[in-house]
């Protein structure tokens, strides 16, 4: 990465944060929830949103205590070399797997859409190569890209959601009561609480922000954009097909979008937009994931040449995604990864934050 110290603006942080939290979640996420929660599936993103606000509060509070360090650096300071190192490795692995899993999800998705005949390995090579090149230009380059395409993405999301309202019957979400409490402790439902994992990039981006004032409200606004998109992705397929039929689809959000035809448009269907949107979204996700992995590893092992490290990570990522996983394998991997993520990014930081707060209180 380019030295001296790169800086990103609050606005750029807002853009990266919103799209990284949307991620590819609208596609894979609802299917698992429909099976367990049926028409109550919307409860899950709502619960995740509330939990994530708490996580955000903890993350920003911790990051403020170590403004010039990332999580790998300060965790070793608090937890000691070995435990801190182990925790750091977990953090790096989880954030790195985020990028890998999303490429796998993207590859599975495009096989069902307009890019069905495009060689996926070549696409992934271009994608990873492009993101690595972008990051090699420095964090500012990545942030500038995020700024450049944000409005296009938001316009795209509005378009694909708004048209679905014509076929939606929101009565299908009833009854609101009668929530299946037993199903709340199912692994898929617990794992869904990790849906806004994009917020954890704050642990690595914080020190690069040129203005750290009022970061919590800014992050919550940004998170809310992601929340609305994911909530709609959960609710619209139920409103169009009903929970029972929607649970039969692998990608219900794509199917609900395909129920709309706009006869006065030359292209009629808006489904063509989704591979484009998600291809750009994955640049945000992969960029954030690879950036965090590179930053984390270089801090952990004191590696000076970050560019070389980034290229190695990029090549390894490409080799990993060359292995074609099935939908079920990926779902199970994401479930285990999400539960581990909750432990590493919710439980441990909360305990650290509580410990530091108590220590500060005792000192004062």
């Amino acid at each position: 990465m380019r030295e001296p110290f790169p800086r990103i603006s609050r606005q750029q942080f807002f853009f990266i944060f919103a799209i990284a939290n949307i991620c590819l979640t609208p596609f894979g996420f609802p299917t698992l929830l429909y099976k367990e929660l049926e028409q109550h599936a919307w409860i899950s993103p709502l619960a995740a949103y509330v939990l994530t606000i708490w996580n955000l509060l903890v993350a920003i509070s911790l990051a403020r205590q170590f403004p010039d360090q990332n999580i790998v650096e300060w965790s070793r300071q608090i937890l000691g070399k070995w435990i801190g190192g182990l925790f750091s490795i977990c953090v790096i692995v989880i954030l790195y797997f985020w990028g890998v899993s999303m490429i796998w999800a993207f590859m599975l998705l495009i096989m069902f859409t307009q890019l069905a005949h495009t060689p996926i390995y070549f696409t992934s090579l271009l994608l990873i190569g492009g993101v690595v090149y972008l990051l090699m230009q420095g964090l500012e380059g990545f942030a500038r890209f995020a700024e450049l395409v944000f409005l296009f993405l938001i316009a795209g999301f509005i378009a694909i959601n708004a048209v679905q309202f014509t076929n939606a019957d929101f009565n299908r979400l009833l009854p609101v009561g009668g929530f299946p409490l037993d199903n709340l402790i199912k692994p898929d439902v617990i794992a869904s609480l990790f849906v806004f994992r994009g917020i954890f990039i704050v642990y690595f981006l914080f020190k690069y922000l040129n203005d750290k004032k009022r970061l919590l409200p800014l992050s919550i606004y940004s998170l809310s954009i992601a929340f609305v998109e994911i909530l709609l992705a959960t609710v619209l397929p139920i409103a169009i097909y009903g929970a029972q039929a929607a649970s039969k689809f692998i990608y219900p959000y794509q199917e609900s979008l395909s129920s709309v035809s706009i006869e006065w448009l030359p292209f009629e269907k808006l489904t063509f937009l989704t591979p484009m949107l998600w291809q750009i979204v994955i640049v945000y996700v992969l960029g954030s994931s690879l950036f965090c992995a590179t930053e984390g590893l270089s801090s952990l092992f004191n590696i000076k040449n970050k560019k070389r490290l980034l290229i190695i990570i990029g090549v390894v990522t490409w080799l990993i995604v060359m292995y074609q996983v099935s939908y079920m394998q990926l779902s199970q991997m994401i479930m285990v990864w999400s539960i581990a993520g909750l432990l590493i990014f919710t439980l441990i930081p909360t305990l650290l934050w509580a410990g530091l707060s108590i220590r500060r209180l005792l000192k004062s």
Binding site: M111, F112, T113, Q114, L115, A116, H117, T118, P119, F122, T123, L126, L127, G129, G130, V131, Y133, L134, Q137, E140, G141, R144, F145, L148, V149, N167, N171, R172, L174, P175, G177, G178, I240, Y241, G242, Q244, A245, K248, E255, S258, S259, V260, S261, K269, P275, M276, Q279, I280, V283
Partner: protein
């Protein structure tokens, strides 16, 4: 400014690289039109224990055909190819092998099921259609008699335009794949498919095929389809109602409300419109009286359709879904539906004699 340019450069490069990914389809694994078979209609018939799948293919100039197979219509040169087999996939695989082309399903506009097959159930064949990534969810689904193959052979490019301007036909109840999907998986929503046939080169509406889950329970005559359309608020614009051959009333606007109670369902209809034709002298002066007679006539007709469908186990108004939404018991819905009492309360307002007369 120069810093901004430096910052924009990598972003612009990445945008270009990303666009390449989208365009790769055009230069990688290219599939020429002549190597593809464009299907616009699929027909499925029941033949003994097997099914017969017919594909309506649009002929490109490169299609190797004998003259006898060629049909010319105003829209496209088409041909029907069919084969028998145990499953949809098997049949389409056989047809693909015979054509030695890639079967392009992205242009499919309608799927036709024969009445016989509908009686046996269509879910296993629908499974193929729902899984296929190329098949649009806005594809029309229709029922026919005697066979889907015959309909496809005789339609000569007229069927899709006919279905696509549904709003003018009060006797046609069109349904698209995405509308049918929820109804195939629950007994609490009944599905209605248009039932049509070809009479020489003309499309004739027989009526509507009413399904419980994926099976046809009974057929409603075409004259009664208009009542179903009113209940589903479909094709009601300019719908005309004939009253005892004395009066023709054209609907301008309908308001539909459903009150669901345990054991009772009240359908409230409010509509206004014009008199199109009348054999009754001084029609407008008698409009109050006629409004009452028309309402009563309509109540009886709609109640008859609703009672017939509930007796056959078809939940025409998706009352079961309303029960589910209210968290009421929907177990044994087949029998619960039969115990429901339907009441129709329609309120008709005659606006004028269509402006020119009276």
């Amino acid at each position: 400014m120069s810093t901004l340019k430096c910052q924009l450069k990598p972003a612009a490069v990445i945008c270009v690289v990303m666009m390449f990914c989208l365009m790769l389809t055009g230069c990688w694994d290219i599939q020429e039109i002549k190597d593809q078979s464009f299907i616009i209609g699929v027909g499925v018939d029941k033949v003994g224990d097997e099914i017969e799948v017919s594909l309506l293919e649009v002929l490109t100039s490169a299609s190797p055909l004998g003259e006898e197979e060629k049909t010319v219509s105003g829209f496209a040169n088409t041909r029907v190819i069919s084969t028998k087999g145990p499953t949809m996939n098997y049949c389409i695989e056989v047809l693909r092998s015979e054509m030695n082309k890639r079967v392009n399903a992205s242009k499919i506009r309608f799927v036709v099921f024969s009445e016989e097959l509908l009686k046996a159930g269509i879910i296993e064949h629908m499974d193929y259609l729902l899984r296929h990534y190329e098949i649009d969810k806005v594809t029309y689904v229709i029922a026919t008699r005697p066979s889907a193959k015959e309909l496809l052979t005789k339609e000569k490019g007229t069927l899709f335009p006919f279905l696509n301007v549904e709003k003018y036909s009060p006797l046609l109840h069109t349904i698209k794949l995405w509308e049918l999907i929820p109804q195939l998986y629950t007994i609490q929503e009944g599905a209605v498919l248009p039932l049509i046939r070809m009479d020489k080169d003309r499309i004739k509406i027989i009526g509507a095929s009413l399904l419980q889950l994926d099976k046809q329970q009974f057929v409603v005559d075409k004259d009664k389809v208009r009542w179903i359309n009113i209940l589903h608020e479909k094709n009601i614009r300019r719908m005309r109602i004939m009253f005892k051959d004395k009066l023709a009333f054209e609907i301008r606007k309908v308001r539909f409300k459903l009150h669901v109670e345990q054991g009772k369902v009240v359908v409230k209809l409010k509509m206004n419109g014009w008199i199109i034709q009348s054999k009754i002298p001084n029609t407008l002066q008698k409009s109050k009286q006629l409004e009452g007679q028309l309402s009563e006539f309509m109540n009886n007709e709609i109640e008859e359709v609703l009672n017939e469908s509930k007796n056959q186990g078809v939940d025409l108004l998706s009352i079961g879904e309303k029960f589910r939404q209210k968290e009421w018991d929907t177990s044994d819905w087949d029998n619960k539906l039969k115990e429901l009492n339907f009441e129709v309360e329609s309120e008709i307002k005659i606006l004028s004699g269509f402006g020119k007369s009276e």
